[in-house]
Symmetry: C2
Subunit: 419 residues, 2 copies
């Protein structure tokens, strides 16, 4: 490989301060009082974030386009007009009380790479593209990674467009409202050939920071399954109905979760078992609830453990139903994803050449790269985040790590674009 | 006593069919698809219900008035202009998924009594008044029995007016918006002398129906205490944060409720322990919840048991906090209420004279009569409801029981108004 010249040119053109300030500017959109962001998928804030990215891209003279699920692309042409592009990116949507870096880092580091390539006058054979995927978080509309999963399997689109949020608003309607913020962006066909995909992201865990290492070469993503459990009992008066005659949906749901905690007990603390949402109806203090609804998010690196433990979810819920009806629904099933060996090696190599310490790491969180891994060689670069805290308004990272990750990303993208 | 003539006159004038149809007409306001009503306190539906009652009262030539907390009065004058009135009534607000009869029965039976007195040309010494109390249910704005408790203790008013619902709307603002539906009703001072209070209500329990008895002479109301429990943990990413490092507010709340169930266990099934509301934040499936909030409604007929068991609530919650902060707040504390012996005897007597089977019964639910019992001789009349179901859209009762209760109420009110 003869990437030495490109390496130097593009790395030098990465502007650490500009990149950090773009994070601060982007974080003003949906800013929360505690310093985080609330920029949920297909919200007005999502629209304003897209607007800002489009404006920055046009300042640089780059082409922007949008596909049918709202994935937003920024393209810098290569020397070979027929070559498939290399793609980098992540997402700009956030959790309801999310941080400044989850997702935004991959988009802004990718944009910094485009700007460095442009300003550095670097020529690549393949086009280099940045993507901002739609609805990665999946908090308002489930499932998450909606943009990348539709990119890799178009058949899902029509089904997702009719999904609704808690207020009955469809994905289709919310998407149209959001896209009204960027009305003059060209439409692009959904799904196209990609030569390679590389996503930068904060680790969202404590490992890199604890090891004092700025670059993680991500070897893969643990598997996950998501479920909803609906418990249907019978409303009754809190003052009169004897407890033995009740079909109390809340108490049944509490018993289920309590029992599932015992089922999921794991000495090694590798199992990730989370109940993130829990609703009851009618939700009045003096009425016995007739309906309880909760979500289960289960993750583990080993398929065998995933199968064995999630196989217990429905039987355990049924065993604690206390006369209520129970509907257990599996929303998603993502197998553990190994990333492409050549991409992992490329990350290690360029980090080494830049004199940056690096280590292999497994991703605890799901990412759009999991879906891209099904259609092209894919990988990820992790940088540390403070105390491993993420999905939290206090989420933070260090400017020097932000810059280091962008430099490795820049080298890798130029390298991949010349293969 | 020489109530024989009055008895006959007013009982004959009770129109069972009109009374039943008024229930069906009123139930159209806030009607739900499953045949119930959603007519929450200080909602537009509450306003329309008040409008309908005012229109009916004016058709009869009766005086209507409103006090500062929105309690609505309909008055028929007596022969002694200086005498304190006798009062009957209940409430027109409902649970979010409530039934047609809870509260509405006491208001409509009371109105039927006024109409029967009016049409029957019956003269009473004291004025007879109907009251529709504000916010008995306490589901949108806590606490319930707001109208009657403010009537009996005016000092609470200013505090209640600034209380907010889940969306941050104050009682004061919602009350003003509701009262805009009846702009031309005269204002009346809050709290006045009442000679006696008698409230008709469906039992909301299974006892009368099971016994095949149409009239319950209510001897008192069990005591109740309401609490909120707020659990404050720490948000974290569902995929990455090891379970041992989490401060999971939801799982702590689940452990608390599970432990409280054991604490409240009662062989005799007399304890009423209900968790009716349970919220988590941020409520995203892939974020560990940082906040959980739930309500506790506890009731029992014996003060000693109330003290002993509710005294365990805070220690049990603290013991299961799992590193989270816990804030236990007592919202209300209502001692068991015995009703006035003379009023109970009056109900028994007139039921007997009308040839209706009756029995003494304790109320499991709280009612506005509990508050009135602190300022005047008070009591209640229960009629059966189907399967004891209440706070439920399928709540039902039989037209013949509705009429029987109104006849006993009419006799009692005329009797009390002549004492």
């Amino acid at each position: 490989m003869s990437t030495t010249i490109h390496t130097t040119g593009v790395t030098v053109a990465i502007d650490a301060r500009r990149l950090w300030e773009r994070h601060m500017t982007m974080a003003q959109i949906g800013a929360t009082p505690k310093g985080g962001v609330n920029r949920q998928a297909f919200s007005p804030e999502d629209g304003r974030a897209r607007q800002l990215l489009v404006a920055w891209a046009r300042e640089l003279g780059l082409t922007v386009s949008l596909d049918a699920v709202g994935n937003l692309y920024v393209r810098r042409e290569g020397s070979d007009p027929t070559a498939a592009p290399v793609l980098t990116g992540s997402h700009l949507d956030s959790q309801p009380t999310g941080g400044k870096f989850d997702g935004a880092y991959g988009v802004l580091a990718g944009f910094e790479v485009l700007e460095a390539i442009q300003h550095g006058g670097v020529t690549t054979r393949r086009p280099v593209e940045l993507v901002c995927w739609s609805n990665e978080e999946g908090s308002r509309f489930q499932p998450g990674c909606m943009g990348s999963s539709v990119f890799t399997d178009k058949r899902q689109l029509s089904e997702f467009l009719t999904d609704t949020d808690k207020d009955g608003i469809t994905v289709g309607a919310a998407l149209q409202a959001t896209l009204a913020a960027t009305p003059d962006v060209a439409q692009r066909a959904l799904g196209f050939e990609v030569a390679a995909y590389l996503e930068a992201h904060i680790e969202q865990g404590p490992i890199l920071e604890a090891a004092g290492i700025p670059i993680g070469a991500v070897t893969g993503v643990q598997g996950s399954r998501r479920y909803t459990v609906e418990v249907l009992g019978e409303e009754a008066h809190a003052g009169t109905a004897p407890l033995k005659t009740r079909k109390d949906a809340l108490k049944a749901a509490v018993a289920m979760i309590h029992a599932l905690e015992a089922t999921m007990a794991d000495e090694t603390d590798t199992v990730r078992f989370t109940v993130g949402r829990f609703d009851v109806a009618p939700g009045s203090p003096n009425t016995v609830p007739s309906r309880a609804f909760f979500t289960i998010d289960f993750r583990h690196p080993e398929q065998e453990v995933i199968n064995r433990l999630t196989g217990q979810i429905e039987p355990v819920c049924r065993a604690h139903a206390r006369g209520c009806d129970v509907i257990v629904t599996r929303l998603s099933d993502v197998a553990p994803t190994p990333f492409d060996r050549a991409i992992i090696q490329t990350v290690r190599q360029h980090a080494g050449r830049l004199g940056l310490q690096h280590m292999d790491i497994l991703s605890g969180a799901g990412h759009d790269a999991m879906y891209m891994a099904t259609v092209c060689p894919s990988g990820m670069i992790f940088i540390p985040c403070t105390k491993g805290i993420s999905h939290n308004e206090t989420e933070n990272t260090r400017p020097e790590d932000v810059a280091a990750g962008a430099r490795v990303l820049a080298e890798c993208m130029v390298d991949l674009a010349n293969r």
